[in-house]
Amino acid sequence: MYLGEANYLTEMVYHKGITHFIIAVGAVLTLFLAEGIMKDTPMEEVILKKNKLFRWTTYSFLVLCICWFGVYGSREFFYFQF
């Protein structure tokens, strides 16, 4: 018997579907990339130096990501009737 037989990694990747896993990995990579580009400069300083179009695109992107991929404790539909 070896550790891979328990399928921990597969379960971790697939238990909510591959989409959720890709989004999570993508978000972590974006975080590293942003950190790498901005270094110690605060995010607002970097963004405020840019033009209006870039600023609004960034704001929209951030709010959309929070709305679309945030976890708000949604539950399963409850059906029980006689």
């Binding site: 909510k16 579907g17 591959i18 989409t19 959720h20 989004i23 609004w56 704001y59 929209s60 709010v63 959309l64 709305c67 679309w68 991929f69 945030g70 976890v71 708000y72 404790g73 949604s74 539950r75 399963e76 539909f77 409850f78 059906y79 009737q81």
Partner: protein, 228 residues
């Protein structure tokens, strides 16, 4: 201060428009309802085969057998070939939405559409914030829901409560709050989310409880080609 508020309103409007585009082009209104989604996919693919459609809640889903209605009508010389588009927990306003979607691209053969009048705009609080309850609601559905709620004989507190619930559900669905990852997963990997069980063994949308029980005992759910 005035500029900040204006900017927030502008950003909210922009995001609402983006989300409406996502709804219009990428999200079918049934994506959050496993049973109804399978039924609507099947109906759209085979709509010319049917002259009638039953839209309703579980009462219709589990009891209206198109085989029986078809055979009785055909005995009287009526060309009646029905599809049962009912679903568990599908209330009146949801049914109106289903009918509107059916009539968007109607089959030339469709002659009869039946809607159940057995439910109101009230719903179980537990179903608030669920994808199945929220995914079909547009701003116009919220307006309709609030109008109907205020026509009901309910205490004013109840009317306010349900109006608020419909308002927040419209916002939730309007901005796809917390839903999009699930929607992408469901639509790109339908075999992991949807099942064609709700079509029933005759593929006419009728699934009595005893037939469903047999599938549960087998511990599998059927997936047909149209969903995978």
């Amino acid at each position: 201060m005035k500029k900040t508020v204006l900017n927030i309103i502008l950003l909210a409007s922009l995001l609402f428009v983006i989300n409406q585009i996502v709804h219009a082009f990428f999200l079918p209104f049934t994506w959050g309802d496993e049973d109804l989604h399978a039924k609507m996919v099947h109906y759209k693919a085979n709509k010319d085969d049917y002259t009638a459609i039953f839209i309703g809640g579980s009462l219709e889903y589990r009891h209206v057998n198109p085989e029986i209605t078809d055979s009785i009508c055909q005995q009287f010389g009526v060309d009646f070939r029905a599809f049962n588009a009912g679903g568990d927990g599908v209330a009146y306003l949801h049914q109106i939405r289903v009918l509107e979607e059916v009539l968007k691209e109607p089959s030339p053969n469709l002659k009869y559409a039946f809607i159940s009048l057995s439910s109101t705009t009230r719903f179980k609080y537990l179903n608030l914030h669920t994808k199945r309850f929220a995914s079909w609601q547009r701003p116009q559905d919220m307006v309709r829901a609030i109008q109907l709620t205020w026509d009901l004989r309910l205490p004013i507190k109840e009317k306010l409560k349900f109006s608020w619930y419909y308002f927040i559900t419209m916002i939730e669905n309007g901005y796809n709050i917390g839903f999009l990852a699930n929607a992408i997963q469901a639509l790109t990997h339908p075999e992991t989310t949807y099942s064609t069980l709700s079509l029933g063994s005759k593929e006419n949308g009728f699934l009595p409880y005893d037939e469903e029980e047999k599938w549960y005992l087998k511990k599998v759910r059927p997936i047909k080609k149209c969903m995978s």
